[in-house]
Point group: C2
Chain length 115, copies 2
């Protein structure tokens, strides 16, 4: 049961913000320094750093100091837990729709055979 | 650009809570009344209704009054926007990893040919 799965909580919550999704979209294209990442955002650096912190706490990104620069990268399999959860629910849901479809087809057939 | 995509904001934010994910997991198995949904949660009804409101605002569920009962159902394609966004980023990211892999293979080959 995913009730207390804090990975999913942190991951989805981190994804629910447009600035953080833009950072992830940039990092999917390759690692970048904090200043490169911050450049397109009209935001004070401390607020921007808060977004990076949330992404790192959710294990969506990693960061590493190289000299005086901090380099951020997308975590390997960053999106896996969120994608897995969504796929699992979609499969259950689509499975139900298929069952419903079969049931309606069966009803229609029965009606035709037994007017 | 997904910067102002409020569907994704609401959708991911709604998914970032264990109670709301449990409700969605239940509804993936079929429609249910509010009281059926609330039963497994040790929570006052007004707080529980807040969760349902957030799921409905994010277009993840729909609800309909049938007599004195309110019935909730998963929206068709509820998870589509979130899944699409995650798949798109994963493809870009995996594409980059493949490129890196090709590059390393090429380097190793060149080294072997030119010791």
């Amino acid at each position: 049961m995913a009730k207390f799965d804090s990975t999913l909580d942190l991951s989805f919550a981190a994804l629910g913000d447009p600035t953080r999704r833009m950072i992830l979209q940039r990092l999917a294209r390759g690692a970048a320094s904090v200043s490169e990442l911050a450049a397109p955002h009209d935001m004070a650096l401390p607020s921007f750093m808060e977004h990076l912190k949330k992404l790192e706490a959710a294990h969506l990104i990693t960061s590493e100091k190289q000299g005086r620069t901090r380099i951020c990268a997308l975590s390997p399999d960053a999106f896996m837990p969120a994608r897995d959860w969504l796929s699992e629910q979609s499969e259950i849901w689509e499975g139900r729709l298929d069952q419903l479809d079969d049931y309606v087809t069966k009803l229609v057939k029965e009606r035709k055979n037994d007017p």
